[in-house]
Symmetry: C2
Subunit: 228 residues, 2 copies
DNA sequence: CGATCGCCGACTGTCGACAGTTTTCCCAAC
DNA sequence: GTTGGGAAAACTGTCGACAGTCGGCGATCG
């Protein structure tokens, strides 16, 4: 790296792998709407701005493409993914599919220890809800759901969830506002834990269906307003 | 391309995108066990053998990594993914999760036209089973299941299925043999179509559970033998 | 004889450059 | 004013090269 001139407020670029650093930078820029959906990203421009060569930029872009944050058109370059309401519905439908499965698997292995850990995470979420960092709220919520998936003890399932997580972050961030007061957070997530504790598969399914349904309606409606 | 010297028996390299071509070549080489699980792939070696530079090789390798065919260790390079029985179980469990969901979604939109198309595909599979191309049998079977997912009308679900498809191809190919006589193929797949035609969600679920269960047991057992 | 340290080779991560292609912009013609 | 053509600019795809790093092998010391 020639450690050159203009990259303004980003002095980050010096910790690990250039590819990962560029990927993080791009991810943040997209989430924070510094790049708008549909925007084209120029490799040379990015490389210049970040003071690196095009190779790491290309690889980072390919990484984000596999995560669904960018789309590439051959000979055209990379574009910030623009999710419409239909795609969002699809994402939430897949999320429902995965979380249903995780809940069903978890019923068997659910015990007091895991319940305690999850309830603590709900506490963390409520605490985060009193702060004013939207991204923090989102992250803690995703962490809770990721913990449930992780407890389901299927690595591949977890990877599939992580894949759509990036898309979830994208569209939730686009709305810019979460419907998160501490009360509704605790009640809605306790419902999931209560269902798991009851070890009743049917009740688990109803609980997660309702939970994801509410989230989906909120986000899809929000996107609808954003687009129009 | 300098169209250089030594790439022996591979004159393929001249149709489209170099990255895709290299990716196809690597995929074929892995599926056909030309590269064994756990093998390290040298970028320079591959680039020399294929008569291209390292850039397309790297990108193709990253692509296959995202598909689960390769794993990369920083500063060490790419290795052919070695699936153990536990990972295989996870993959089939996720597949079950996705196909259950697709079946449930498809119940509503299932009609005579779609049933006819799917039954024709079963015919194709049976016809393929009389041939001696193992890969053809696998592809036609995957096509059938992919059609069901596609009818479920959720792009993101289809993408998730395509993702695990590559891993399925890998482990099925490792076993080297499918349990495919035309009779068992038609009966086992007709069972799925009959369940869909009945529009009974519970029956659909039982049908797909049984179907995937059989396939999983066969493959997991086969891998167990291969490893030992 | 065994263990540790240092050197050597190979390879990945990164870079700058070139060529073909796509897009854009300008000018002319209708 | 609009449209069509053509040249130029910009960009992606690809290439060869350099440097830092990791693993292996041999030499040296205990």
């Amino acid at each position: 790296m020639t450690s050159s001139k203009a990259h303004g407020d980003f002095t980050i670029i010096q910790q690990r792998n250039l590819v990962e650093q560029v990927a993080d930078y791009l991810t943040q820029s997209i989430i924070s709407q510094h790049f708008a959906p549909g925007d084209r990203l120029s490799e040379v421009q990015l490389a210049r701005d970040l003071g690196v060569s095009r190779a790491p930029v290309r690889e980072a872009a390919r990484l984000l493409e596999s995560r669904g944050l960018l789309v590439s058109r051959p000979r055209r370059g990379f574009f910030v993914r623009a999710l419409d309401a239909a795609e969002l519905n699809d994402v939430f439908d897949l999320r429902l599919c995965l979380e249903r499965h995780a809940m069903a698997r978890l019923v068997d292995g659910f015990d007091a220890g895991r319940e305690k850990v999850l309830r603590q995470q709900v506490e963390v979420m409520c605490e985060a809800a009193t702060g004013d960092s939207e991204s923090r709220k989102i992250e803690e919520d995703l962490t809770f759901h990721r913990m449930i998936i992780a407890y389901a003890d299927n690595r591949r399932l977890l990877k599939a969830f992580d894949d759509i997580t990036h898309e979830l972050r994208l569209c939730i961030a686009l709305i810019g506002k979460t419907h998160a007061d501490p009360d509704s957070i605790s009640t809605s997530h306790w419902a999931l834990l209560d269902a798991l504790a009851s070890k009743d598969p049917q009740r688990c399914r109803e609980a997660i269906d309702y939970h994801i349904g509410v989230a989906r309606d909120y986000v899809v409606q929000g996107i609808g307003e954003t687009v129009s």
